[in-house]
């Protein structure tokens, strides 16, 4: 039991508890704030597993940009639904059943496979080496991702614009 193992298990507990709290909150704003905690934990976990660049990207993009986007949408449009109080069995029962089945199968695979018994060694990839690797071997995928982001931007603008024109016509 080294200090790295302790950090890993503490992070795992934080991530699982924060995520479980996030998905059960009635108020989406509370859920988003808990999710920020969960993603910060994931960022530190990435750092522990030897990916400092991805840790920074996780915190900047996931915990920063994406969650703030959620927060803005929830605040601007007061998206509230009439979800029933408590956790009705009709709604949560099938989900929990599927989840428990799926989790037991995944745990069985993870523990029975001899590959899973290997211990991870600490290693670190510097951002420079990682960038070199990605742009030498996967430059085409980077281009595809940039195209995808551009199309996402176009789609978001288009969806927002069409709806606004329709709303003005109705007024």
């Amino acid at each position: 039991m080294t200090v790295y193992s302790l950090i890993f298990y503490a992070l795992a507990v934080v991530i699982v508890i924060a995520t479980a709290l996030a998905i059960t909150r009635r108020n989406p704003i509370h859920a988003v704030v808990y999710l920020v905690v969960s993603f910060l934990g994931s960022g530190i976990l990435f750092f522990l597993l030897g990916a400092p660049f991805l840790a920074a990207v996780e915190i900047i993009i996931y915990a920063g940009a994406i969650m703030v986007l959620f927060l803005f949408v929830v605040m601007m449009f007061r998206i509230e639904t009439a979800e029933p109080k408590g956790y009705p069995w009709r709604q949560w029962g099938p989900a929990l059943l599927v989840g428990v089945l799926f989790l037991s199968v995944l745990c069985l695979v993870a523990f029975r496979d001899p590959v899973g018994r290997a211990t991870l060694e600490t290693a670190m990839v510097s951002p420079r080496d990682f960038g070199r690797f990605v742009f030498q071997k996967y430059w085409l995928s980077i281009e595809v991702i940039s195209l995808l982001l551009f199309l996402g931007l176009l789609a978001a603008i288009h969806l927002g614009k069409v709806q606004r024109e329709k709303a003005e016509e109705e007024d």
Binding site: A12, I23, V32, L48, L49, Q91, L103
Partner: protein, 101 residues
């Protein structure tokens, strides 16, 4: 030495299943999108652990693409939710029943 590879995989599996339960059980569309984000994060944890397990950089490269796809998906998904909310006046998945005969 950190931990056995299987423990990291179990953490990724628990995160993924929590997201799955959220997508299935919640009726608020924003919460559904949050569940998808949680699932993608679980997949990213598994990829990074695999990259460390076999000392290959491909695992980390995949996570870069997962984060790019997640960002695009959230922006388009939130725009769609706002559009549906303006049209129907609710973000409850059960109210979208125009096609019901």
């Amino acid at each position: 030495m950190i931990v056995p590879y299987s423990h990291v995989l179990v953490l990724a599996a628990v995160t993924f299943v929590l997201g799955l339960v959220c997508v299935i059980a919640r009726r608020n569309l924003v919460m559904t999108l949050i569940g998808i984000e949680v699932m993608m994060n679980g997949a990213a944890i598994a990829f990074i652990a695999s990259g460390l397990r076999w000392h290959q950089l491909e695992g980390q490269a995949f996570v870069l693409f997962i984060i790019g796809v997640a960002a695009t998906e959230v922006s388009v998904g939130l725009a769609l939710i706002i559009g549906a909310y303006r049209r129907v006046g609710s973000a409850d998945a059960d109210t979208y029943s125009i096609l019901k005969g």
